[in-house]
C-alpha cells in the first residue's frame, strides 16, 4: 500500500485553465519523492492538493490507504514546510512548534520533550524564546522544519524550503534534510525547481510540465534514460545538446548524421537503434559525454569556440559548428581561446535519440 496515492487528480481553475491535470503517482512509505519542473508547472498545486489546501476538482487522493480527497487539511495528518516558511509572527519559536501539538491535544510533557528534541537536532535551543522576526533566513527555515517534525505527521510536504537560502547554506541544509529523512524515515514530498536538489536528495524524482507528469524514476535512471527531450534538457545544466539527426543503413552498419557529428555508429549502438533508421530524429548528448581526446566509440567533430567558462574544477565550453551550438564539460586543463577551432569527440556510448516530431525517446533495444 503506497503512503500517498494520487489517482488521476486535476485542479481545474475554470475556462480550461488547469493547475494540475490527470496526475497519477504512487509514493511509497518512507520514500523521499521530489517534484521537479519549471515555474508554473503545477508542483506547488500538487503539493497543496495533497495537503488539502487546494481543492481537488477531480480524481482521488489517499494517504495511508485512507481516501482524504474531501477531508479538511487538519484531518490528513500532514505537515507542510512552506517556501515562505509561514511562521506565526506573533508567536515565539517555541510557541510556533507547540501550536500543532496543542491543536492535536498532545500531552504537555510530551510537547516539551518533542520541542526539546527538535531544537537539539536543528540547533535551535538558543532561539526558542525569540520571535521569528528576530531570526535569520536559515534559522527561520529550521524553525519551519522543527514545527513540522514535532507534529510527527504521516507525511512531510515541503515546497521549495531551501530556495530562500544562500548557496552555501542551501548545500548544508540539503545534507541536513537527507540525514533527517534517514533518521525519521517519514514519507516526504519535496518540491523544487533545482535539478541539483532533485538529483542529490530524491529516492525518486517526478518531473512535471504544464500540470502533467513527464517522467518518474530514481534520479540516476531518469538522468540516464530521459523519456523525452524535455526531461533530457531539464535535468542538467548545461542542458543536453540536441541536434537534428538521421540514421542511414550503410554496408552492414548504421551511419549517424547529426550536424557536425557524423560517422558510423559503434556496433552496440547500431544494434540498439536499428528502429530509428530513416526517421526524422534528434540526437542528444550531454555536455560531459563530449571528450577532448579520441577513445573507442567516439566520433570527432570540429567547431569554433564561442564561450568558455572556467569554473576552477572544470571548464564549460561551447562550440559552434555548421549552425549548431554544442556545449561541453571538459577538463580544467583544456582551456581554448575564443574563436579557436578545436576538435572534440562525441562519446556515442552515452548518446540519446528522440523522435523529431514529438520528442519521445527512442527505446534503446538491448
Amino acid at each position: 500500500m503506497p503512503a500517498i496515492k494520487l489517482n488521476n487528480i486535476s485542479r481545474d481553475y475554470g475556462l480550461g485553465i488547469f493547475g494540475v491535470q490527470d496526475v497519477s503517482l504512487d509514493i511509497e512509505e518512507g520514500e523521499f519523492m521530489v517534484l521537479l519542473g519549471p515555474s508554473g508547472c503545477g508542483k506547488s498545486t500538487t503539493l497543496r492538493m495533497i495537503a488539502g489546501l487546494e481543492e481537488t476538482t477531480s480524481g482521488e487522493i489517499s494517504i495511508a490507504g485512507r481516501d482524504v480527497t474531501r477531508l479538511a487539511p487538519r484531518a490528513r495528518n500532514v505537515a507542510v514546510v512552506f517556501q515562505s516558511y509561514a511562521l506565526y509572527p506573533h508567536m515565539s519559536v517555541r510557541e510556533n512548534m507547540r501550536f500543532g501539538m496543542k491543536m492535536r491535544k498532545t500531552p504537555r510533557a510530551e510537547q516539551e520533550a518533542r520541542i526539546a528534541q527538535a531544537a537539539e537536532v536543528l540547533g535551535l535551543q538558543a532561539y526558542l524564546d525569540r520571535k521569528p522576526s528576530a531570526l535569520s533566513g536559515g534559522q527561520r527555515q529550521r524553525v519551519a522544519l522543527g514545527r513540522a517534525i514535532v507534529r510527527e505527521p504521516d507525511v512531510f510536504l515541503m515546497d521549495e524550503p531551501l530556495s530562500n537560502l544562500d548557496a552555501k547554506l542551501r548545500g548544508e541544509m540539503r545534507q541536513e534534510l537527507v540525514k533527517l529523512h534517514r533518521r525519521v524515515g517519514k514519507t516526504t514530498v519535496f518540491v523544487t525547481h533545482d535539478h541539483v536538489e532533485a538529483m542529490t536528495m530524491g529516492d525518486r524524482i517526478c518531473i512535471m510540465r504544464n500540470g502533467r507528469i513527464e517522467q518518474v524514476g530514481p534520479p540516476l535512471e531518469v538522468y540516464a534514460r530521459p523519456r523525452n527531450t524535455f526531461v533530457a534538457q531539464f535535468l542538467a545544466s548545461p542542458a543536453m545538446n540536441l541536434i537534428p539527426a538521421e540514421l542511414t543503413a550503410s554496408d552492414g552498419g548504421i551511419a549517424l548524421g547529426a550536424g557536425p557529428i557524423a560517422g558510423p555508429l559503434p556496433a552496440r549502438e547500431a544494434a540498439a537503434y536499428r528502429a530509428g533508421v530513416g526517421r526524422a530524429l534528434q540526437f542528444g548528448l550531454r555536455a560531459e559525454d563530449i571528450a577532448t581526446e579520441a577513445k573507442p566509440g567516439t566520433l570527432p567533430f570540429e567547431g569554433s569556440v564561442t564561450a568558455v567558462e572556467a569554473l576552477g574544477n572544470e571548464n564549460l565550453i561551447a562550440v559552434e559548428s555548421g549552425g549548431h551550438r554544442i556545449a561541453a564539460r571538459v577538463d580544467r586543463h583544456f582551456l581554448p581561446k575564443l574563436g579557436e577551432t578545436v576538435t572534440l569527440h562525441a562519446d556515442l556510448a552515452h548518446m540519446h535519440l528522440f523522435d523529431a516530431a514529438d520528442g519521445e525517446a527512442l527505446v534503446r533495444e538491448a
Binding site: V80, F82, S84, S133, R140
Partner: protein, 266 residues
C-alpha cells in the same frame, strides 16, 4: 546646514499655522469670559468656563453620551467588519457586486439617509435614544471599516492560514488564533478610526436625538444661541472634545506604524 535651518524654520511655521487655532481655543477656554475677544495672550487664568459648562449646561451628560455611543458602535461594528473583511479578502463571497455595494453605500450623502432613518426610528421608538444612535453609527461605519480591514487581511500571507490549518486548526481556528492576532494592529487602528468618526458625527445626532441624549457636537452647536455665541463655553467644550481625538491619534500612530510593517514579517 543652512538648508536644514531653513527647512526647520519652514516646518515650525507650518506647525504654528496648523496649531494656532487650536491653541487659541485652548487659551480662550482658560481666560475669563470678558477677555474672550481680547488680543492679550493670557490676561488671567480661570476654570470658570469649564465649571459653567458642567454646572449650567449638563455637558458631563453630553460627554458621557458621546463616549457611550462612539464606544458601543465600535464594539458592535468591529466583529462584523472583521469577519466580512476577512471573507472579502479570502473568498469570493458576494462577488464583485457585494464589494462594490459596500463602497457605493459610502458615496450617498448622509442627508439622503437622515430623513428615512428618522421616520423608521420613530416607528421603532429609537429616536431620542442612545441605542438608536449607536445602531446608526455602527451601520454608517461598517462599510468603511470592512473596506479598511479587507486591505489588512489581504496583506497577510495566505500560507499562514495554510500552516495553521495543516497544523490542526479549523478555518475558524486559523482566523481566530493566527489571522486576528497578526492583524491586531490594523484592527486597532480601524477601531480608533471608527471611534473618531462617531465622535465627530453631527447630522444624525442632531436629527434623531433630543437634549437628554445629545452628543458633544450637538451640545456645542446649541451654545450658539439667538442672543449670541457663548464663546468661552464653546472654547471649553471644544477643548474637551479634542482630548479623546488626541489620545486616539497617539494610538493610531502606534498601530499604523506596526500595521504597515507587519507585512515584512516572513
Amino acid at each position: 546646514m543652512l538648508r536644514k535651518v531653513v527647512s526647520h524654520v519652514g516646518l515650525i511655521l507650518a506647525v504654528v499655522i496648523v496649531l494656532f487655532p487650536i491653541l487659541w481655543v485652548l487659551r480662550t477656554s482658560l481666560v475669563p469670559a470678558h477677555d474672550s475677544y481680547s488680543t492679550a495672550i493670557l490676561p488671567a487664568v480661570t476654570l470658570d468656563n469649564y465649571r459653567a459648562l458642567f454646572a449650567d449646561k449638563d455637558f458631563g451628560r453630553n460627554y458621557l453620551n458621546s463616549l457611550i455611543v462612539a464606544g458601543l458602535s465600535v464594539v458592535l461594528t468591529m466583529p462584523l467588519a472583521a469577519m466580512t473583511g476577512y471573507a472579502f479578502a479570502r473568498f469570493r463571497t458576494g462577488g464583485r457586486i457585494a464589494r462594490f455595494a459596500t463602497l457605493a453605500s459610502q458615496m450617498l450623502p448622509p442627508v439622503a439617509l437622515a430623513l428615512p432613518t428618522f421616520m423608521l426610528f420613530r416607528t421603532l421608538g429609537l429616536t431620542n435614544s442612545l441605542l438608536g444612535l449607536t445602531i446608526v453609527y455602527a451601520a454608517i461605519n461598517l462599510p468603511f471599516l470592512i473596506w479598511i480591514l479587507m486591505g489588512f487581511f489581504e496583506s497577510i500571507p495566505e500560507d499562514l492560514e495554510g500552516a495553521a490549518m495543516t497544523d490542526g486548526a479549523t478555518r475558524w481556528g486559523a482566523f481566530w488564533r493566527v489571522v486576528l492576532p497578526v492583524a491586531a494592529p490594523g484592527i486597532m487602528a480601524a477601531a480608533v478610526l471608527g471611534f473618531i468618526l462617531s465622535w465627530n458625527e453631527f447630522l444624525f445626532a442632531l436629527i434623531l436625538n433630543g437634549s437628554s441624549t445629545a452628543t458633544v457636537p450637538v451640545a456645542l452647536a446649541s451654545l450658539q444661541t439667538s442672543n449670541g455665541v457663548q464663546i468661552s463655553n464653546v472654547a471649553a467644550g471644544v477643548s474637551l472634545a479634542i482630548l479623546p481625538l488626541m489620545i486616539a491619534a497617539k494610538f493610531i500612530q502606534k498601530y499604523l506604524v506596526e500595521g504597515l510593517s507587519f507585512g515584512s514579517v516572513k
